[in-house]
């Protein structure tokens, strides 16, 4: 059965026997973890192009000082939708896609624990994405209050703010379902011999991420529900005139928000921890340390939230507390970076595209971690809060961090998913264009921020012109380079050199024991792990 029908469209083997529908109904009704994984990944990829083009609208307007391209209110809609969609519509669904494809393959399970809930969890996403984008066509345009949804703007806005709140509820429901599924699968469906401490690190990081989601998504849902009742049902949670407090929203939001940034990055740590040992041809240095560090990052992430709020007014003691706790997070993070470097140390390394992106991750994520520490110092943050310095920080951790890890993971597992090797030349071109243009785009933002340029404005003072022009040029190169990625993926789906089962010489783990492409059903009889 090794290499039979391979294209994604005709891959349903006849032996299935329970008469699955074809065409669009196949995808609407599928309960197969590989199908659902592909759906998540295609959804994330599509939304990436949408939210990416919004970013290009932003950078086009900021190419020069003055207002040239869009109306300032539309500019604000673009920043808001860009942020919301990149976080909830791209990075999170992409990780859910990886989880669906890889977790059963990596722990030797036939599928996810709750296949029907899996289907429902995915199909909620396009609905939420539709609601977010629908706002663009509503009176007053899309929500423009920022991805953080702060009141009073989010209480005062029009109908599209309700659509946004509804979308967040739906996305939250989807995340919770995904998390329950992942936790249940990992805890109950591992192959005999696959003890917790033998699990691949990607599975570990997702297990911990799933707990983070279950703990924080309801908090976000509560926050936006309070917005909703303030908007329509005469409550005054965030309205000082009625005895409420808008700062309370910020506390609730960031109690979700900071763990959320770890939700975005922990699976990235997992993917990088799979890729580096493969291409260094050495086992991961400090596997147990990695698990421990991930767990402690997850716990610590709950006691740092007010570092996003140093400027809103807090007692000095609270500022100190959040400054200290935030700086402590750097310790386990540093341990991870150390372990990745130590894994590469004296390894026999080769530099295929997944490895290139993984190495770029280690270097550039570290820059983002350091600028995070700079932001964590209260007196410094009071200067740079809401400037482009913060924008630089979070794009280093999210673009060269989370996104690069997603790209690395796609290159790494694409041969297993499609049965074909991707075009290595195009992959390298994609890598070099991305890594250079990413730095051209975001590094100058550090300087802009330190010089005082505020974020979320459509215009700026003349002295910021040069760096903005550089950043905009970088952004357009970065954006268009991603089309190469799309081309590589489509090319690999349609054909190319046959991938072996092992794919990568140094790869370890159960997913490499099944044929490439992975058949529709795998591990129907559990493998035994020694």
């Amino acid at each position: 059965m090794a290499h039979d029908a391979t294209h994604a469209h005709d891959a349903i083997p006849a032996h299935d026997g329970h008469g699955q529908p074809g065409g669009i109904m196949r995808w609407l009704t599928t309960t197969n973890h590989k199908d659902i994984g592909s759906l998540y990944l295609w959804f994330a990829g599509t939304m990436f192009l949408v939210a990416g083009s919004f970013a290009l609208v932003i950078r086009a307007e900021l190419f020069q000082p003055g207002l040239q391209v869009v109306h300032p209110d539309f500019f604000n809609q673009m920043t808001t939708l860009h942020g919301l969609i990149m976080v909830f519509g791209v990075i999170m669904p992409a990780w859910a896609g990886f989880a669906n494809w890889q977790i059963p393959l990596m722990i030797g399970a036939p599928d996810m624990a709750f296949p029907r809930m899996n289907n429902w969890g995915f199909w909620l996403l396009p609905v939420a994405g539709f609601l977010l984008l629908l706002g663009l066509f509503m009176p007053g345009g899309a929500a423009a209050g920022g991805w953080t949804m702060y009141p009073p703007l989010f209480v005062q806005g029009g109908i599209s703010y309700d659509l946004t709140i509804f979308a967040i509820h739906i996305l939250g429901a989807s995340s919770i379902m995904g998390s329950i599924n992942i936790i249940t699968t990992v805890l109950n469906m591992r192959a005999p011999g696959m003890t917790l401490m033998k699990m691949p690190l990607f599975v570990w990081t997702w297990l911990i991420t799933a707990y983070l989601l279950i703990a924080t998504v309801p908090v976000l849902a509560g926050a936006v529900t309070m917005l909703l009742t303030d908007r329509h049902f005469d409550t005054h949670f965030f309205n000082p005139a009625g005895g409420g407090d808008p700062v309370m929203f910020q506390h609730i939001f960031w109690f979700f928000g900071h763990p959320e940034v770890y939700i975005l990055i922990l699976p990235a740590f997992g993917v990088v921890s799979q890729i580096i040992p493969t291409f260094a041809r050495k086992p991961l240095f400090g596997y147990a340390s990695m698990v421990y560090a991930t767990a402690s990052i997850a716990i610590l992430s709950f006691i740092v939230w007010a570092h996003h709020m140093f400027t809103v007014g807090m007692p000095a003691a609270a500022q100190l507390f959040f400054m200290y706790s935030t700086m402590l997070i750097a310790v386990p993070t540093g341990v991870k970076v150390f372990n990745w470097v130590a894994t590469m140390w004296k390894g026999s390394m080769t530099f295929e595209t997944p490895m290139l992106f993984a190495i770029a991750f280690v270097c550039l994520f570290t820059i983002g971690g350091f600028s995070g520490l700079v932001c964590a110092m209260t007196p410094v943050d009071i200067q740079i809060h809401d400037t482009y310095y913060v924008v630089a920080h979070f794009h280093y951790v999210l673009v060269s961090g989370a996104l690069f890890a997603i790209i690395a993971g796609v290159y790494y597992w694409l041969p297993k998913w499609t049965g074909h090797m991707y075009d290595e030349k195009l992959g390298k071109l994609h890598f070099w264009l991305s890594v250079i243009s990413m730095n051209v785009t975001f590094f100058p933002m550090h300087f802009l921020g330190l010089a005082g340029m505020p974020r979320r404005y459509a215009d700026y003072a003349l002295q910021f012109a040069e760096f903005n022009m550089i950043a905009s040029i970088g952004a357009f190169i970065f954006g268009f380079s991603q089309l190469i990625f799309l081309a590589v993926i489509i090319k690999a789906i349609r054909g190319g050199r046959k991938a072996s089962d092992q794919v990568w010489e140094g790869a370890q783990g159960l997913e490499w024991t099944v044929p490439s492409p992975a058949p529709y059903h795998t591990f129907e009889t559990a493998p035994v792990v020694k």
């Binding site: 917790l196 147990a288 003691a317 386990p332």
Partner: protein, 64 residues
């Protein structure tokens, strides 16, 4: 106490090292063999609460 089934003390030490993010291989193997998940989670939550108290103590010393 080496043979006893994971004591509170062992759970506390495992969690302490995890906050730091490092664990010696032989010790980790003992942890993995002896500690139950529930034990580790409870120890983790207690340790997190302790950490908050310690930080508050330091803040109090500095700013108090």
């Amino acid at each position: 106490m080496a043979e006893r089934r994971g004591s509170h003390w062992q759970a506390a030490r495992a969690v302490f090292w995890s906050f730091f993010g490092v664990r010696k291989k032989s010790h980790y193997e003992q942890d993995a063999g002896r500690l139950s998940p529930a034990q580790v989670i409870v120890a983790g939550l207690v340790a997190a609460a302790l950490l908050v108290l310690i930080l508050l103590g330091i803040v109090w010393l500095v700013a108090g």
